[in-house]
Symmetry: none
Subunit: 416 residues, 2 copies
């Protein structure tokens, strides 16, 4: 089967917003075994929307549409669909209830403009949107599905995950695709590919290997496609068992989107806790840890010490220490880690101090230099120096990932 | 005139790579007054490439194509174009010279696979590629331009800037487009649109208004199109001056990508400093502030107090306070703000405490509830309650944006 994605929005056509919806949707569909053969971006124009849907109906089995469902005048996707499918707009009770709930939670009155969001074409199936006022709509024509969703990424993502992908799978029964992703850190793409070349060449034809690099991490994704789910799954696991010993020094975990989730699992398993003291990463380690639900079980907090004064007064690093060794030094990083662990009374702590750039470097301590230290309950402190010279944003991402990798690595070599 | 962009590449259709080329190209074209009415992503497939070009030739005056020009077997754009325009491939001397130069610079031998890159369709104009082996190709058919470029972003960008955009401008002489974007916070899309409805309805036909919402922020974009650049610019400014008084309570600034940059400007202008005490935002306010170069000039740090113990021991919030009012309360938020400001000795401070979810709420204090407090040097504290019920990630983004807005708003009403 064959899917088209149509993203509607003037903001996408003038380059103001990058179309991350298309790639997110394509990735999720692909992981579920659904093939995307075209993605199209068009303006909020009745003629363009009509033409694109009619033309995609000739080529595709399923059309997924995002955008143009807001309450304002430039949003015309719903009225265009109602016209195209000759299905007049009527008020939907459940949608109205949902809109009323959202407005009462936010403490705003329900205006007539917002009430209009509860109008939906008579012949569509409504997809509930717990996070916003625009419902999704599903039409069926000649056994083809045409599904319209809001363009707001997290509203669309929720609908895709909980409703649209399960619906597509039950409607079309595509062939099985199974993926297994291995998260690694510490070896670049070309070196890792040299290391596992014989393995890659020996893979059966229906199993593909992809290299997915991101700030300091490299994911290896093995994807098996076939008619018989059980047999491809068995062979995929077999290949993973061959690959693991080859990459054991760089391996972090399976299938996790983010190393902070690996850390969460490990700490919860051990009933242990962690805290952070961040200078150059500026709160990003804390942010990455706390974005996961339930983080308060194992994370106690951070001191973001963005000035020497904060390092001294809040973290209790001695002034003489900073003057003698400099703020970016092994000594200060270790002291930050030790002190924050004691102050917040956690099993472990992570500290960072470095030069994110673009300025602030010297010949001795260039931009990109960073010390990362980890303190443990028994008094041990591990520290290591890196240079992550790049853009400021990328420096922060790489440093954060490296810090998470260091604590995961330490936990994996420590008995529970 | 009307332009289509066609991006070719399997990696874009499985979601492995986000299509940043389309938005970059659309933005540059738009800034030059060239209208993009559709962008399409297709696979490396002869049939798809042929069909897409033929179909776009019916709708567009100009077609810009990227991707599929590499030396490997899956790259078939060039042979497809040669076939489509009945123009056989011949070796081009200048292109071969360029390829030889590149290989000698990199110290690699020139293989026959690489030499093939010098073959180009007989009837196209070649576009030089100083950064790579794949040349660009420009075809003309019925006074329409069809231009093929490599998919590597910086190679394509160099061709667009130095050759393609000047060529389009001289070939089509497009009309002028000017945009003005206004960043607002604090009023939802539907309320703002009700508020400025008379203004919107009174806009001249050649000026369009678009609403661009993102986590708790709303951008208003006015776009003017016309023959005479000076006169549409004058009228656009005129309309902006009419709009500003209507939205003054929600207005943050012009054309800024991120409110943290507005905050940075305001604090630097005043030579003032800020600190944060974050509970539910978990370090994200600190992260958003410190991602900007030079943040240490005005930002001193944060206490991410992710447990009551941290609120008590590091921030000095009284235990009785938390027991009496609860961690998510006006009293605790204000105390956090006051104490962190004093501890870090800054002009202002921001504190957050709330329930990010998905669990942890109660009937009295539901998921999404958050108190944001700002403390000032003179002892004043402002605090406000919100409910940002949504996904955990979105809750954190919205709360962060709201906190930044509150301090920007306070600064804008305070004399320098």
């Amino acid at each position: 089967m064959n899917t088209h994605i149509i993203n509607i929005g003037d903001e996408l056509l003038i380059g103001q917003v990058i179309n991350t919806n298309a790639s997110w949707m394509a990735l999720q569909l692909n992981l579920s075994g659904v093939n995307v053969s075209k993605t199209i971006v068009i303006a909020d124009s009745e003629k363009e929307i009509e033409n694109s849907i009619l033309s995609s109906l000739k080529e595709a089995d399923c059309i997924l549409i995002t955008g143009g469902l807001g309450p304002t005048k430039d949003d015309i996707t719903k009225t265009t669909l109602a016209k195209l499918f000759s299905s007049p707009l009527i008020e939907n009770k459940e949608v109205l209830e949902n809109i009323k709930n959202i407005f009462s939670l936010r403490g705003f009155p329900l205006t007539s403009t917002n009430r209009k969001q509860a109008l939906v074409p008579k012949d569509c199936k409504v997809i509930n949107n717990p996070y916003g006022t625009a419902p999704g709509m599903c039409f069926e024509k000649d056994n083809k599905l045409i599904i319209s969703m809001p363009g707001v990424p997290f509203e669309m993502q929720n609908m895709m995950t909980n409703y649209v992908i399960p619906l597509i799978l039950s409607h079309y029964k595509p062939i099985a695709i199974i993926h297994k992703t291995l998260l690694t850190c510490g070896l670049g793409e070309s070196f890792l590919s040299d290391l596992i070349e014989p393995f890659e060449l020996s893979l059966p034809k229906y199993i593909k290997l992809a290299y997915l690099p991101s700030a300091n991490f490299l994911r290896l994704r093995l994807s098996a496609k076939g008619e018989n789910r059980d047999s491809i799954e068995k062979e995929l696991n077999n290949q993973v068992n061959k690959l693991l010993p080859l990459i054991k020094d760089y391996f972090i975990g399976f299938d996790f989107d983010d190393p902070s989730l690996v850390l969460a699992e490990e700490l919860k398993k051990r009933k242990q806790t962690i805290s952070t003291a961040e200078s150059c990463t500026g709160g990003n380690i804390a942010h990455r840890i706390t974005i996961n639900p339930g983080a308060s079980q194992y994370y106690k907090g951070s001191v973001v010490s963005y000035s020497n004064q904060t390092k001294i007064q809040v973290l209790g690093v001695e002034k003489e220490f900073i003057e003698t060794f400099g703020a970016v030094s092994r000594e200060v990083a270790e002291k930050m880690a030790k002190n924050v662990r004691e102050k917040l009374n956690t099993t472990y702590s992570i500290a960072t101090t470095g030069i994110a750039g673009p300025s602030g470097g010297s010949e001795e301590k260039p931009v990109g230099d960073i010390w990362i230290a980890i303190a443990c309950e028994n008094g041990d402190v591990i520290s290591k120096k890196f240079n992550f010279y790049s853009s400021r944003e990328n420096f922060i991402s790489r440093a954060t990932n490296q810090a998470l990798f260091m604590i995961i690595n330490l936990l994996s070599t420590t008995e529970i």
